[in-house]
């Protein structure tokens, strides 16, 4: 009996995702960190989107199951991963946090399962972007 609820929990927290062309695929099994809309200018340039939504997961509960992203060092302490074949933005790694990985929510196979809880770097939010969603707006996290 004990195994049933546990496997249910596992299924509820497991997620898969990958790039547009399918060359890079990943799987997460553990609980995800807070889902944040990031309005920083670097996320904007990297994605081409007006805002980028991220979450975070522990490396022990994450694996690339096919291929690997190409890395670009976008700042002193951070690297961004993308698919070298199709360019999809996939992940963000802090040098100071090697035990976890930031994941682009748009690359999840079921992004609708991830509920955003906050805005970060809201001081550089694009003026035309109206997201009156009642979520807290943090500045320069």
């Amino acid at each position: 009996m004990a195994a049933t609820p546990r496997s249910k929990t596992r299924a509820a927290t497991a997620h898969t995702g990958g790039c547009l062309c399918g060359a890079v695929r990943f799987r997460t099994t553990g609980p995800l960190g807070p889902v944040s809309h990031c309005h920083c200018t670097m996320c904007r340039k990297a994605s081409g989107a007006p805002v980028v939504t991220f979450t975070r997961v522990g490396m022990s509960e994450f694996a690339f199951t096919k291929g690997k992203p190409k890395e670009y060092r976008s700042s002193k302490g951070g690297r961004r991963g993308f698919c070298a074949k199709c360019g999809s933005q996939l992940c963000f790694m802090y040098d100071a946090k090697p035990d976890s990985i930031g994941l682009n929510v748009g690359c999840f196979d079921e992004p609708e399962r991830l509920k955003p809880v906050r805005h970060i770097y809201s001081e550089t939010m694009i003026p035309w972007l109206h997201m009156d969603d009642g979520l807290p707006r943090l500045r320069n996290e």
Partner: protein, 140 residues
């Protein structure tokens, strides 16, 4: 400052690392937020925003995007060095090019006036009322 630039006729933009740069003369014929799953995967965001221009109004002043043939009818361009999502083109129509709004130096220069492919718009965005029309496909 931003307002002055938004009203000027020339806009510039490029990828995150600076390997690809472009210049736009003139106004877009369409500006929209796209919620299709392909835009979601490419940008890694919950939606993409693009402005469509006559191709002769856009010039790459440094480098060029690498193209990925994302469907029978379209190619998506990105920076091979840093991966920035830059362009969308219909392969059968070389007279038009779409540029991602996030790569523009003044990302507020062009304001989207519609949401497209809203069948796959995520629920958290669906609930946000911004007054823009929502289309299940590209209305043209």
């Amino acid at each position: 400052m931003a307002k002055t630039r938004a009203n000027s006729k020339t806009q510039t933009g490029g990828c995150l690392c600076g390997a690809v740069r472009y210049r736009i003369e003139g106004k877009p014929h369409h500006v929209g937020n796209c919620h299709c799953t392909m835009c979601q995967k490419t940008t890694g965001s919950l939606f993409g925003s693009f402005a469509g221009f006559d191709a002769d109004h856009v010039r790459f002043t440094k480098g060029k995007p690498k193209d990925y043939r994302s469907s029978k009818w379209a190619a998506r361009g990105f920076c091979p060095k840093c991966g920035s999502t830059l362009t969308y083109r219909l392969v059968a129509d070389a007279t038009q090019i779409w540029l991602s709004l996030g790569t523009m130096d003044n990302a507020g220069a062009f304001t989207p006036d519609q949401h497209i492919f809203t069948t796959t718009m995520v629920p958290s965005l669906r609930r946000v009322k911004d007054g823009l029309p929502r289309y299940r496909a590209f209305p043209g």
